[in-house]
């Protein structure tokens, strides 16, 4: 069965390694924080200026001076730090953040990503996404395999204006885990109960399918 958003987040959380500083984008990526594996210490960076982000505050304890990049009220953990936007993007651009998880409208098999603009529609802006994808060495995209019309978002080539080029390392969708390797999507894992045929038919980009493809363990 295809994963829901929480399932995608749960699978991505398995990519967390001890000591990682992690930037989570808005949407599904935010949910990753709910599934940190036992024994793994990570810290979450939010590009508006906080490292060591904690969970949402208890009701009545919201602080208007303490938000994340999604403008949501948050809390901080012991060891947290606040800083300005230039310092924040120094962390990102300088590759001090080890993992970036973000959503996308399209991903291409050369690692290109499009997630900020649909021509003809109101453009809200790229926020910090262009800095994140241009800088991070380890970028995981969290998204649905297909759009609302059922069209694949895993493409040979992005059709939308790009956010970054050749930068995506992995894609975790409701159907699969894909790795961007040598200009193709290498199928690493299937969502529980999802067949290779289902994945193939939902994928427009070139797939590499080698040997037995295991199911995700969640």
């Amino acid at each position: 069965m295809a994963l829901d958003k929480n399932g995608i987040a749960q699978r991505i959380a398995q990519e967390l390694q001890n000591g990682f500083y992690v930037n989570l984008g808005i949407g599904i990526p935010t949910l990753v924080a709910n599934y940190i594996p036992q024994g793994i210490d990570v810290e979450f960076q939010s590009e508006n200026g906080v490292l060591g982000m904690g969970p949402f505050p208890f009701e009545g304890e919201e602080d208007s001076d303490l938000i994340n990049a999604g403008k949501q009220t948050i809390t901080t953990m012991a060891g947290a730090v606040f800083f300005d936007s230039a310092t924040s993007f120094s962390m990102i651009r300088g590759q001090h953040v080890q993992l970036t998880v973000l959503g996308a409208m399209e991903v291409a098999q050369n690692g290109d990503i499009a997630n900020w603009k649909i021509p003809g529609k109101m453009v809200k802006g790229m926020g910090g996404a262009m800095d994140l994808v241009a800088s991070a060495e380890n970028i995981i995209v969290a998204m649905m395999h297909t759009n609302k019309k059922g069209e694949s978002k895993i493409l040979k080539k992005c059709s939308l204006p790009l956010t970054g080029v050749g930068c995506v390392t992995k894609v975790v969708t409701n159907l699969s885990v894909l790795e961007v390797v040598d200009g193709s999507f290498k199928l690493l894992e299937r969502a529980p109960g999802v067949s290779i045929e289902e994945i193939k038919s939902a994928t427009e980009g070139d797939l590499i399918i080698e040997g037995e493809i295991p199911e995700m363990k969640l």
């Binding site: 906080v50 505050p57 230039a86």
Partner: protein, 233 residues
């Protein structure tokens, strides 16, 4: 000690005029110069270019200047959550330049630090790179970005002293320090203004040298955009 105190927001914005370029601190509605925005809205000046990470919401923050059509051009990284903004943008009344958030922050810092241009990887291969010089460093393409400055920068701090030194609270710091550096005239409004000497010299976020005018703000609303909470178990 050089005294930077002005006695009112009206005095603080003295000299603002049509067609100027302003920088305004804040991320979303967090850390925005509420008092200055209010006075700018009252002033009726028009044709402004506003450099601000976001554009407020319909009835708060920069939305107040948009309502009155005071803004000609916005330079931002993200401008969602504002219906009037969307209307003006789609109708062509409002010019919008979108800049990656990190480049926006660094360009403001550069403007204040006398660095006229720098290379960054952000935006390479995208429409942001259009017309910009591309150069490879360490095998990776970068684009040349230029410094930003403004006629006035409006920032908001938690505490400030009479010498213009500022301390920010939590994530309300965001763009305020860099914009303070990049304003020809930087106006700081603070929740609490104290005499010089009361703040620890090691704990100041924005040194007073970057601030030309400081005043005690009032009636802060500090609106929360996304109130997210968890329930007690």
């Amino acid at each position: 000690m050089i005294n930077k105190v002005v006695n009112s927001v009206e005095e603080a914005i003295e000299g603002v005029a049509d067609d100027m370029t302003f920088m305004l601190g804040g991320f979303g509605l967090c850390g925005i110069p509420e008092n200055s925005i209010g006075a700018l809205s009252q002033s009726g000046i028009k044709g402004l270019t506003c450099i601000s990470n976001n554009a407020g919401v319909d009835d708060f923050g920069l939305g107040l200047l948009l309502q009155k059509r005071q803004i000609k051009k916005m330079i931002s990284s993200y401008v969602g959550e504002n219906a009037e903004f969307e209307r003006q943008m789609l109708s062509g009344e409002l010019e919008v330049e979108l800049i990656p958030q990190g480049s926006l922050a660094e360009r403001c810092r550069a403007g204040g630090a006398g660095i006229p241009a720098f290379f960054t990887p952000a935006g390479y291969g995208t429409e942001v790179a259009k017309g910009k010089e591309v150069r490879e460093f360490n095998g990776k393409p970068h684009i040349l970005e230029s410094a930003l400055t403004a006629d006035f920068a409006f920032v908001k701090a938690w505490k400030g002293d009479t010498a213009g030194n500022l301390i920010f609270k939590g994530t309300a710091r965001n763009f305020n320090p860099m914009m303070a550096m990049a304003g020809k005239i930087t106006v700081a409004e603070v929740e609490e203004l104290v005499p010089a000497g009361e703040l620890d010299p090691a704990q100041i976020h924005t040194p007073g040298i970057f601030v030309q005018r400081i005043f005690q703000g009032k009636d802060y609303e500090k609106r929360i955009e996304q109130r997210t909470v968890r329930t007690r178990e």
